[in-house]
Amino acid sequence: MTWLRLSLKEWQRRPLRTSVTAAGVAIATAALFSLLAFQRGYRDGVRHELDRLGAHILVVPKGCPYDAASIALHGASWPCYLKSRYLAEVRAVRGIAAAAPVFMAAVYDTTGAQSVYVGVETNILALKSTWQIEGTFPEHDGELLVGADAARRNGWRIGQQVRLPALTGQQGTVTGILRPTQGADDTFIFMPLSDAQRRFHHANELTHILVRLTHPDKLDDAVAQLRGCDAGLSMNVVPLAHMFRSIQSLVNSTRLLLGCIALVALLAAGTGVSNTILMAVSERARELGVMRAIGASRADIFRLVWLETVQVCLSGAVLGIGVAFLASRLVEHWVRSKLPFAPTDALVRWEWWIAAACLGCALVLGSIAGFLPACRAARIAPITAMRRAEGWA
């Protein structure tokens, strides 16, 4: 027999009540685990997505910069446009290594499936240093560079002449296929800028300009110049590093609020555990008295009851972590539907340290919650064993 085994036996006495108590801890731990995993996944996801964009600055039409950034990253139709002539002013700014004009449009076929067409020039390659292309980059009208997922979904191969999805009667030739980037680019269909503008009837208009600096330190100066140029009043200059910080700040504020809620849930669960164990101690007073009579010390009884409490909390925590892990896709889907700027990467990313932190919290919670019942149990006098109550073996 071991102390752990002896304390585990208590589960058998009232399995339903103990399980319900552990479930309270499980819910609180699941919330904490999801919160920590989400915070980690979201931060990394946003950072990777902005890195994949390859730009330091995003120049977009006037409007909400977050909406514009989200559209540029994930692909959608733009509500308004930039004049192509702004590009010259952007390129004239000191410290800019490359300014890539982009025209993006999203269209839907009869089944509701979305296709995103992106018109670009060859200088986009100066920003997309991680791109690996099988075949060639499209340089002439009618040529297409297709993202890995889009090529797979449509069953396209290099050299194939294809009908463009959701663009009735229009065709193109696949000259290149992007190797998977793990980002939204995998779903896009790229074509020369002029071709995209013509197909969507927006000649001399752009949806956004991706700007890469010669050095990231020149960000503030470049942003000031862009905002101060003649076209500055007609466009929104979005420094992506600032946007990352703003998004993180927003998420951190939300995390603080959710963290407080998770903490309150944990404290409530701890109070529930403490109350349940106190009741159990009260019900088992004579039994604990018998243990004292036959040789258990006060410390032995304290250890036994404390272990029972810690065990309930740790079991609940393991259950909560398991449930949170299994439900992470569901949580991710829900969170994604609520966030204005959700990266395509996994939002909920768990790591071992997060599980360890949750178990640590449960251990601390169990230790604190078990203290009062354990003290109370340890104070039970051996003569309690002589009580003549009914209904006990």
């Binding site: 027999m1 009579a293 073996a393």
Partner: protein, 229 residues
């Protein structure tokens, strides 16, 4: 059986034992000036009407409670002023308890219940448990839970538990109180067998045959000693 004895082979030596409980503002004198001695190997029955102080006396002799005044020596050593830890150690090492309500833990098997005092003493008692279940005739019930046992079997298991640490003194509080007369007789036989093997036994009982089987009786009435042959 373990446990040394005092002068003249005394296991228990009580002089002027008094126990007063406070019940609200009222003082309840449960025991008053009780003196007696019990020698090694004796089988003593404590008898008397309900409320006479029998269980209080057993609590004091079992080091579960401290006397208000008087002296009490167990195995030749005064125990009335022992600290809690020392009393716990004495209970664990030298005294075996048998309760009217058996006091078996419902979640443990017979073997685990029997091993419990040894576990608290930090000893591995597997072979001793095997020896005891065989001795009390519960080998076939070794891995059963108390709820699967009859009253007599439960009390046998409780007696085995009391013997696991090889105590020098066995205290029993109404050990046949919850048993039918036939089962009570078998428990009496077991006590007599243990006493013949040298174990000192003190039994609080209302059971006449159990009391008459003892070497002598200590009779209490209103917390005082009435007769000590």
């Amino acid at each position: 059986m373990s446990g040394s004895t005092g002068q003249n082979g005394l296991i228990v030596s009580a002089a002027g034992l008094t126990k007063v409980y406070q019940r609200g503002r009222e003082e309840v004198r449960a025991l008053h000036d009780v003196s007696f001695e019990i020698k090694r190997g004796e089988f003593v029955a404590v008898v008397g009407p309900s409320g006479a102080g029998k269980t209080t006396l057993l609590n004091l002799v079992g080091c579960m409670d401290a006397p208000t005044s008087g002296t009490l020596a167990l195995f030749g050593k005064p125990v009335q002023n022992l600290k809690e830890q020392e009393r716990t150690r004495l209970r664990r090492e030298q005294i075996g308890f048998v309760f009217q309500h058996f006091g078996l833990l419902p979640t443990l098997t017979v073997a685990e219940n029997i091993a419990l005092p040894a576990f608290f003493a930090g000893r591995d008692a597997a072979s001793r448990v095997d020896e005891l279940v065989f001795k009390i005739g519960l080998k076939h019930r070794r891995d059963h839970r108390p709820s699967e046992l009859s009253g007599g079997e439960m009390q046998r298991a409780a007696i085995a538990r009391a013997l696991i640490n090889q105590p020098g003194l066995l205290l029993a509080d109404e050990p046949t109180g919850n048993l039918d007369s036939a089962t009570g007789e078998s428990i009496l036989d077991l006590f007599e067998q243990l006493n013949r093997e040298g174990l000192t036994i003190i039994v609080v009982t209302h059971n006449r045959s159990l009391a008459s089987a003892a070497h002598r009786q200590i009779t209490l009435g209103d917390g005082a000693l009435r007769l000590q042959p």
